[in-house]
């Protein structure tokens, strides 16, 4: 696994020399990496490696102290929150806890992006939401509130919300944690389907190695010295001590 220099324009999303400190902790130091359009990139790394923070930086939720973050060619680190909205129209994000609004029903949650940003009729919204909810395997939950569903079901509903207005980029923060094997497969094939059929660019953070290896076109391994980028095969062959330690710990723990 090697760090390859590529022309910036081949990347849909590119980080260039990003540094971020949280209090006394250094989350990123001079991190540079890129994510290509139409690929599934799985971001691996131990906990505390900054996987979730990386997604937050790309989504513009967390501003890095220095460096540039280019999404579709625009450096978002200098955009105001309002300009950021135009960038985010093309991004869907699945948060680790789902982040569904608990005052709204599942239906209203998934319909929210459509109601806010499109002129669709209530009928069309209903059809679009029902289609997404069926795809994530939650066909009959429309009238329920998030607190009435399990954490895994909330996450699936949140995924439906993240893709409901057909974004080009979907950021998924730990979509598999806490899911049973059946639902891991279901979400996995859903994500792969979105990628293959609609050409979505997917960034998935995970420490679920088996599914990562199955679905990833490219693996981004976050470690203290920066990011290692390569194919899943390259990851398995890597001699980097941190990667080796991660892989052996993962195989000991079994497939979680």
């Amino acid at each position: 696994m090697e760090q390859r220099e590529e022309a910036a324009e081949t990347f849909r999303i590119a980080l260039d020399g990003v540094s971020l400190r949280r209090g006394h902790r250094e989350v990123f130091r001079d991190l540079s990496c890129g994510f290509r359009a139409g690929e599934i990139s799985v971001i691996l790394g131990g906990s505390g490696a900054g996987k979730s923070t990386l997604l937050r930086v790309i989504g513009g939720l967390t501003r890095p102290d220095s460096g540039a973050v280019r999404v579709a060619g625009r450096d978002i680190t200098r955009l105001s929150e309002r300009d950021m909205f135009t960038v985010r129209d093309g991004i869907g994000m699945l948060f680790q806890g789902g982040a569904l609004l608990d005052s709204l029903t599942i239906f209203d949650n998934v319909a929210l992006p459509l109601r806010e940003h499109t002129e669709l009729s209530e009928r069309e919204i209903h059809a679009a939401v029902a289609r997404r909810l069926t795809a994530v395997g939650l066909p009959e939950t429309e009238g329920l509130f998030p607190r009435q569903l399990s954490g895994g079901m909330n996450r699936r509903a949140a995924l439906a919300r993240a893709v409901v207005n057909d974004p080009e980029i979907v950021l998924c923060d730990e979509p598999f944690s806490g899911l049973d094997p059946l639902n891991v497969r279901r979400i996995e094939s859903l994500l792969m389907d979105l990628n293959r059929r609609l050409g979505l660019t997917l960034l998935v953070t995970s420490h679920h190695l088996a599914s990562s290896l199955r679905m990833a076109d490219r693996i981004v391994f976050l470690r203290r010295g920066g990011a290692l980028v390569g194919t899943p095969e390259a990851l398995l062959r890597s001699a980097d001590p941190e990667v080796v330690a991660f892989l052996s710990a993962e195989s000991e723990a079994g497939s979680r």
Partner: protein, 258 residues
């Protein structure tokens, strides 16, 4: 010594920064309220939380406070043979002072704390970030409807509190202590004027409502995304809110003589 001065300077800079952030926050709330979408649905739901759910405690407290005023007023006025002015005393004290202040304190404890806790827990569960990622401004969607609902509910709750307190005073003064009912109402109505007393009462409750709305929503949105952050936001709202209400009550009374 130098360390102490340094800390003082640090604190001062911190306070100025905080005030600056607060100003930006308030400006954001004002802007989203002035511009479409107006989110009537959200506002109605929030008025339910702030107003309708506070109704019971407001009415009960009003009745009790009015009854106590009736009792205290009667005993003290009777010493000067002026118990006929009970209505005036009860009315003026309630309309000018106790109505707005007690309503605001009760609403801070009942609805302001809930408001801060709800927003803070939305921060903890990344719901506000979720809205941002959907290109929805959390100020516009979450904060402004809550703030406006507080502004709408406060004068109404204040009026209800005062009316219930009048009744409380009547029950004690007239039904229990045997004053003349007609005299109670006449003395009350003659003592109170629209321009000074009622308008002042309304002004106070509007100012208090705006203050609590800003404090509760600001503390909520700026809370740490942890469980202790939620509780800190809640406690902070009640403590800061109560003190600010009392301070502003004095300021308004001193400036406009209400």
């Amino acid at each position: 010594m130098i360390g102490a001065i340094q800390r003082l300077g640090n604190r001062s800079v911190g306070i100025v920064e905080e005030l600056g952030r607060m100003t930006v926050f308030v400006a954001g709330v004002a802007r989203t309220l002035a511009m479409p979408p107006y989110r009537l649905r959200r506002i109605v739901d929030e008025v339910y939380d702030v107003g309708a759910l506070s109704l019971a405690i407001i009415c009960l407290s009003g009745l009790t406070v009015g009854a106590v005023l009736g009792l205290q007023g009667y005993y003290n006025l009777a010493r000067f043979g002026a118990d006929g002015s009970l209505g005036a005393v009860v009315g003026l004290v309630l309309v000018r002072e106790l109505g707005p202040v007690l309503t605001a304190l009760l609403v801070t404890g009942r609805a302001g704390s809930a408001m801060a806790a709800e927003i803070a827990s939305m921060v903890t569960t990344e719901q506000l970030d979720g809205l941002r990622m959907m290109s929805v401004d959390p100020i516009d969607y979450v904060v402004s409807p809550k703030a406006l609902a507080m502004g709408i509910a406060m004068p109404l709750l204040n009026a209800l509190f005062i009316v219930f307190a009048f009744v409380g005073g009547y029950l004690v003064g007239v039904s229990y202590l045997g004053l003349d009912g007609g005299q109670y109402w006449t003395s009350l109505e003659e003592a109170i004027t629209v321009a000074d007393d009622i308008a002042g009462s309304l002004l106070k409750s509007l100012v208090f409502g705006a203050l609590i709305a800003v404090i509760a929503t600001y503390r909520g949105t700026t809370s740490e995304p942890t469980a202790s952050g939620v509780s800190a936001a809640t406690t902070g709202t009640v403590v800061t809110g109560s003190v600010v209400i009392l301070v502003f009550d004095y300021v308004i009374t001193a400036l406009w003589g209400v």
